[in-house]
Symmetry: C2
Subunit: 213 residues, 2 copies
DNA sequence: ACAATCCGCCTTGCATGCAAGCTTGTATGC
DNA sequence: GCATACAAGCTTGCATGCAAGGCGGATTGT
């Protein structure tokens, strides 16, 4: 039945819990406490704890348990700052190589965004937004960037809890900004992209801080 | 006697082995094989494997063992690209805050570099170089950047094997470039820093690809 | 009543047992 | 000679046993 390994299940379940806010920051978890509901023993849970500690989501206290690292005060700023840095670096590299495949991808994603914005599907739009940005980084082919960016997406997803109560009117604005970004990628204008992205992420910043998108 | 935990010892020992090239890329390791020399059982070794997999240095093959991920062809480029992105982002942030403490630190590190360059101490200089660059990132206070940058330092250390046969004449050139970078940090000239850093890292790039520093 | 001490519970860290899966080498049939 | 099938040895994945350590509550002495 369950084809995936126990350690993997524990990891995914716990990570999902942390990212969705189901388990609150500061909370103290024990291995049996996490493993019992999943029907698995302490060992795979311990392994999951280690992986999550490596990602900075958990902090293992030697003989006490694992505390969920709370989101720090400046975390939103930190995430967006690194996102800008990595995405801009990706575009800078892409400026010197073939961008046609990426352009097609971005066009497709933009169409999907437009549809989602029209339908007012905010959760769907959030996913599409993430796909759009990460597509750029992935196209750069920088394996380290890609890996880092994935953890940034996780962190941002965790913070996005606060800002789900979102006005749908602004979604079309975001699509327009994305179109602009896609154009700059296509042109190979790395500096212009960097500036536009900074502005674009500032809006996201406000959203993550609790306001409307 | 040994106060640090077994899992930690396994992690540190194995990581050191990978970073120094003692264990070659592509090699297949088994848990007992690693644990026996350290006098520890499979469990802590398994945990070390998981951590190293999370860092991308190891790849666990389900019922076979752990293969040491070889350095990819473009890894040097990738590392330096992300280094540039993160360091420049740090300077951009620092441009808007108090840089006096950092300036003092950089001046101190520059003096040390000059001494090391004069003495022709290449390994010592490599360490000082790493301290100089990471000091900038750390001063920014971006926790994510700092963490990412640390793994970049690891990767670069692993690649630096090839380029240890280094001419000491060029060390003074590097010190001069560092002084220039420090000035730009102090001035808060983020764009200038970015450009100068790109040039500076290009030299490092050639070094990492096997040439002289 | 209050403070200090001690005992017991809960936690992890590590070792080991057991089973399952993959690979390799061998033997057998054609 | 060649291909196929089998069997043995390796590997890990997970469960569990055992010991050590920390914390909290109860108890006792003042």
């Amino acid at each position: 039945m369950t084809e995936i390994a126990a350690a993997e299940r524990a990891y995914l379940a716990l990570k999902e819990g942390i990212l969705t806010g189901e388990v609150r920051g500061g909370e103290l978890l024990s291995e049996v406490e996490v493993g019992t509901p999943l029907g698995i023993s302490r060992t795979p849970v311990h392994e999951a704890f280690l992986r999550l500690q490596a990602e900075g989501l958990l902090r293992l206290v030697p003989r006490r348990g694992a505390v969920v690292v709370p989101v720090g005060p400046g975390e939103a700023t930190d995430v967006l700052e690194v996102r800008r840095a990595l995405e801009s670096a990706a575009v800078r590299r892409l400026a010197g190589s073939d961008r046609s495949a990426l352009r097609d991808t971005l066009v497709r994603l933009l169409d999907a965004q437009q549809a989602l914005a029209g339908a007012g599907d905010v959760p769907g739009f959030v996913v599409a937004d993430e796909q759009f940005h990460s597509a750029i980084v992935q196209a750069s082919g920088n394996a380290l960037s890609i890996r880092f960016y994935a953890t940034l997406a996780d962190r941002q997803r965790r913070m996005a809890l606060n800002s789900i109560g979102t006005r749908t009117e602004h979604l079309t604005t975001l699509v327009a900004e994305h179109r602009n970004l896609a154009d700059l990628v296509d042109t190979g204008d790395a500096d212009g992209f960097d500036q536009a992205l900074a502005a674009h992420l500032s809006a996201t910043h406000s959203a993550l801080l609790g306001g409307a998108l």
